[in-house]
Symmetry: C2
Subunit: 113 residues, 2 copies
DNA sequence: TCAATACTTAGCGCAAGAGCTAAGTGATGG
DNA sequence: CCATCACTTAGCTCTTGCGCTAAGTATTGA
């Protein structure tokens, strides 16, 4: 379970920026080139490129270059890892409420004895 | 949809640290005091406190003080927001694969005509 | 072949993040 | 009522993140 932990850090870090989340949103509709992706943002290209590299290094996207154009694609596995972690947390919480319910039930039983 | 965007930044930022994720994991089992939470970590208390404050400011936890003890509790809404965002991304992706499938189907139909 | 295109590299500046120590505050317990 | 406990504040490092400009490289279209 915990071996996920390390890899989640760069993923959450990558998701913690609005520009990068917007890029992810765009890539959800299909692959795109750097300049296509950069176009909506009021930002110098090298600054934008840093976001792309961050996304790539965290594993959230893949890129490959054909000629002078670099195309970016979404990678789904990291999202599944985040979802798995969230599910695990939810399970913890729900496990607890189950125990709470049992506790409340037990109290109720005692009181009505 | 996009009004979530702003609030997601501090949430993902808060999740982007192993100490804070571990604290969240612990709080999944129920509320705890600062020193209980801090105990497993090899870190000075003030350093640990910064993580707690970060978690609180991002809305992931609530805290309240009774006497000299501050108790921390998990807050579920931020997790639901993250899950909603992930669901939205998945939907985008799946919408695309649907369109891809339709495209492939259309091609196939053409070819077999 | 040569200018334009699409990045890419190098390097700077400022703000935040993540850790520390030292010293302070305000409950509790004996 | 005084020591101890449980934080809390202040202030310091060092690193990383996020933006910029200027200049460089490698394709491509005319």
């Amino acid at each position: 379970m915990d071996y996920h932990s390390e890899i989640l850090t760069p993923i959450f870090q990558a998701l913690a920026d609005p520009t990068r989340r917007a890029v992810i949103g765009r890539l959800g509709r299909g692959p795109a080139s750097i300049s296509d992706l950069a176009q909506p943002f009021d930002m110098a290209l090298p600054s934008f490129m840093k976001h792309i590299r961050f996304l790539e290094e965290s594993g959230l996207i893949n890129t490959h270059k054909h000629g002078r154009i670099r195309t970016c694609t979404l990678e789904r596995k990291p999202f599944q890892m985040v979802e798995a972690w969230l599910a695990q947390q939810r399970q913890l919480w729900e496990g607890r409420t189950d125990r709470l319910e049992q506790f409340v039930l037990a109290q109720h039983t005692k009181e009505t004895e």
